[in-house]
Symmetry: C2
Subunit: 609 residues, 2 copies
């Protein structure tokens, strides 16, 4: 059901080509509804009507595609059509054709492949019949102007056009020619040099690509990058031409780019912002209007659009966009509510924001985020801790079961330095939350006690956490054991760790291994001698897949500052640790063997039987 299936589209287009236009037309319409910027299909479509000599239909098609498909081949079709229909219309027809050439070159005259069109136009102008010397002079002036424009465009034909222009000026007046040619020579040179450079960027682009929503494919990324390089190149105005012409080229390149990357929101965005930066705010707004029409599902484009409107002071249009964001995403409006409340507060004041919040919170789609955001605004912007706290309390009635909300409320109470209520909140939440949803709350409770508690409250919470979480996790009993890794987390502070990088690597790795071994370990603990033989416990430790619910060592935090790493190990004391006891043994050794045997100190916990 992927309507953007490129192979299917190509097959369809090939089929259409074999059918009479009456049957092919609905196929083309279907194709072009999906690929409105596919110049090649438009061309095929319009050529079918042209072959059928249906001028009215041809015009209709051209009117629908030309401005959205700035592609030379399509436009050459158009000019051929215009020339044909005006062929028999005498001077009026010639005038129409001339206007069509002007129109065409205005839109695609900067294309790297526009050289032949410029040449055709000049040939057409030269072929226009003249009667009076005034007419001839006028034609000459027109031809000169077109040459002078043509040789500024970096195309493959710029050298040929320059030669033609030299001949033209020399044929008009040898004396005038010298001045004019020496004036235009550097401009031509510049265009020629820029063409060589431009061609490299152009060659990277696949001009046959169909516009589909981003797939993330390598080819697509290469194309995006190729377009961005070309755009950067054009924006840099390498030819150092006047700003207007340079900007027209950038606009032309963006429009061409959107034929291929029509579904890429970032292109629309940078295009719009480029206009805004260049001071053409109206153009920017129009681009954004096209963008949100082209990609109606892209929320972020709407936020970008609203932001642009707001930042140019167009509050009402911005508000309209926010309202559409809220209306269109019934299932996911919390973020839109939050951003709209912020917007209202900025543009209409506290009261408007408050009213909106009071309504929005009643909606079933309103999540706890809206309460958090509103309370934060009350606290940070209005400095009203009382309102903030009452919003949090009101939310608690509804979101007691949301660990995320508990954590936000706890953070807020910590900001107020109200540790009594933080503890009460944690206890209240943990008495209600099922263990599998309380992992993060326990973690924060333990962190909280590390800051606000003493040693015993810290250890107590950690022990309670282990007990609570072991009930659901696979690692049951062994999870209850206090590990050295727990000590590391208790005695770390900010980016300071009570161990070396190596030790931390080792401990976290083994914490993880032990968690994954636990299953097996537990079983053996509850084994009785009767069932022992039936349990397969071997060396093939099965590593369980990582589960999101299980507390893991936080590898992400494990960057350590440890200046001691450069220090070599100190081996002077790496003896067995028995030294003192052994000295005592030796004292008692002679003369009797008995004393050696009976007076050896017991290893801790190993009392004689």
């Amino acid at each position: 059901m992927d309507i953007y299936n490129i192979e299917a589209a190509e097959i369809l287009a090939n089929e259409a080509q074999l059918l009479p236009i009456g049957e092919a037309a609905p196929i083309y319409e279907k194709l072009l509804a999906t690929f409105p910027t596919a110049a090649k299909y438009w061309k095929q479509y319009v050529e079918a009507y042209m072959a059928a000599k249906d001028d009215e239909a041809t015009k209709q098609i051209f009117s629908r595609c030309l401005l959205s498909c700035l592609q030379i081949n399509l436009w050459r079709c158009y000019i051929n059509f215009i020339r044909r229909v005006n062929d028999k219309r005498g001077s009026e027809g010639l005038e129409e054709t001339k206007k069509a050439f002007d129109f065409m070159l205005n839109y695609v005259g900067n294309d790297v492949a526009s050289g032949p069109v410029w040449m055709d136009y000049i040939a057409f102008l030269k072929s226009m019949p003249v009667v009076t010397p005034q007419e001839e002079s006028h034609r000459m002036t027109t031809v000169r102007k077109v040459y002078q424009k043509a040789i500024l465009v970096p195309t493959n034909h710029v050298e040929q056009l320059w030669k033609d222009y030299e001949n033209f000026e020399n044929s008009v007046s040898r004396t005038l020619a010298k001045g004019l040619l020496s004036e235009y020579q550097p401009k031509f040179n510049s265009a020629k040099a820029v063409y060589r450079e431009r061609k490299k960027y152009i060659d990277d682009i696949d001009w046959n690509m169909l516009a589909v929503p981003p797939t993330g494919s390598y080819k697509e990324e290469q194309q995006c990058m190729a377009w961005k390089r070309l755009l950067a190149f054009e924006k840099g105005n390498p030819q150092r031409i006047d700003a207007t012409t340079a900007n027209r080229r950038v606009t032309f390149t963006y429009e061409q780019c959107l034929m291929y990357l029509y579904h890429h929101p970032d292109i629309w965005y940078v295009y719009g912002m480029w206009h805004a930066k260049n001071g053409s705010m109206d153009s920017a707004i129009k681009i954004f209007q096209r963008a949100v029409k082209a990609l109606p599902d892209s929320e972020v484009l709407k936020y970008a659009f609203a932001e642009l409107e707001e930042s140019r002071g167009a509050i009402q249009p911005a508000k309209t966009i926010y309202e559409s964001l809220i209306a269109e995403n019934a299932s996911m409006t919390s973020l839109a509510h939050i951003q709209f409340i912020r917007f209202l507060r900025r543009t209409e004041g506290i009261e408007a924001a408050r009213k909106y919040f009071l309504d929005a919170r009643k909606l079933p789609s309103c999540t706890y985020h809206v309460y958090v955001a509103y309370a934060t605004m009350a606290f940070c912007l209005d400095k009203d801790a009382k309102v903030a706290q009452s919003v949090f309390e009101a939310g608690l009635k509804r979101f007691m079961h949301e660990p995320g909300y508990i954590l936000e409320y706890a953070d807020f109470l910590c900001r107020l330095n109200d540790d009594r209520n933080v503890r009460a909140l944690f206890e209240r939440a943990l008495s209600l939350l099922p263990p599998e949803e309380s992992i993060e709350v326990w973690k924060r409770f333990a962190q909280f006690e590390q800051t606000y508690g003493d040693l015993s409250s810290m250890l107590k919470v950690e022990q309670r956490r282990k007990e609570a979480l072991s009930r659901t996790s696979e690692d049951a009993l062994s999870a209850l054991e206090n590990t050295l890794y727990d000590v590391v987390s208790r005695y770390s502070y900010m980016d300071l760790w009570p161990c070396s990088t190596k030790e931390l690597d080792y401990l976290s790795r083994h914490e993880w291994l032990a968690k994954n071994m636990a299953n097996k370990g537990d079983k053996s603990i509850v084994l009785t001698s009767a069932t022992l033989a039936t349990v397969g416990v071997g060396s093939n430790t099965k590593l369980l897949p990582q589960s999101a619910k299980v507390v893991r060592p936080e590898i992400s935090r494990m960057v350590i500052y440890d200046p001691r790493q450069m220090k070599g190990p100190d081996f002077s004391t790496t003896s067995s640790g028995y030294t003192k006891e052994v000295e005592e043994i030796l004292k008692m050794f002679s003369p009797q063997m008995t004393s050696f045997i009976t007076n050896l100190p017991a290893i801790e916990g190993m009392t004689r039987t």
Copy 2:
């Protein structure tokens, strides 16, 4: 210079074996200084003295190694030595030998390989000469007791021992035998079943391994896990024997484990904590004393030790450990200062903590963490915002150049909701910090404005950030461009994103690609036509290696909640976006072609020339 080179050690040990003991002794000493728990080297060493009939030296060696090497082969050497030296000493010698057997079995009688020793002991007892019936009766009682102990130990010889015991009882008294054997039968059965299970764990262990500091190798991890599984098995008391015997086995297993994992701090820790949990606090303390001697570089073991002392109320010993932590790590004392200040506050009160802080902050090794920690204590525990702020201000004089300190101070001021001073702090810091060190500060400044600022202050800070950071980063000019990805970060809230997962993936990927493309893009921007031809710009986009200093999209935060993902795309409006304009064109189309040409609306920014 790795003294824990295992191959070198093996070569050395083999060489020593070929040398006379006088020359070999220093080699053994060197080896055993590095590997004090290597039973195999001790055995080789002591055997060399035994071969040389140097009883005094033999005794010395045994006294140094037996208790730290609970290995059957080494102890069998010992018992053979004892038997030999007591061979000619008559009844006194026999008594000595008997005591040595008791001593040995007390230490290693629970070993899985202790079966033959039990059998030897029984044979020895049986061979003891008796004269009187009382003596014979006494011997019989002794033999019975040993049998009854031996058949409780899960060894390979437990079945043989059971058969021997049956014969023994039957030979003593058929009538008594029945009762005794039926009492011991289930105990023997249990030992037999547990042996089968125990053997599986034992077989996973490499009994030849030398104890080296953790290397992280796969084999080492397998061994650690094998030991931990064996320990968990023993702790589970699968044989359901009395607690004392079960605990002796666990102690024995830990001691054996430490012969091989001597340098693994977590083993020492769980061993000590196991004692503490079992109520033998004195044993726990002794284990920790051995541990910090064995691994003097392990800070975390010292924290664990101090924690144990503190939590049992032994404040003075805990303080001594903290003081040693501070004294021993001259280059890395900040964390120790912080933990000691916390400890003092808990145990001696605010004034003691304050005094210590005032001294510690004067030390050159004191980093900003100590200020942050002390200020946080003042704020969170003493609720004294004034002291906290003055500590932060005092620290600022010294740590103005530390981005980490700036961020902590800014966090603190945010807790106070003092946005005026937060802004002042950011501005002050950013005017001093070089751009390459201000990345995080800029990021937080931008986040701060998202909460405390309005749209224009938000955009202004982001623009300033881009300008400041572009000066040093490779991506210069293009980094200045506002991207859609920036919009995403501005309009996100908590875990809500203004776009779908797919869109976010796309945008972050392209943000990254663009950053890496920038180098090339920039160059073309400053190109003049003269230099154009010389710059190689092709399709081989070189991806720069990721630099830690460059701001990257935060992939880690990119988990998105998006209920809309299930919704199919809406294609109803995916047309070209020109619809309205084209409708106007069509209205003007007939009857004159001219109107079609001249009244076509210009594409934004493309004015006619």
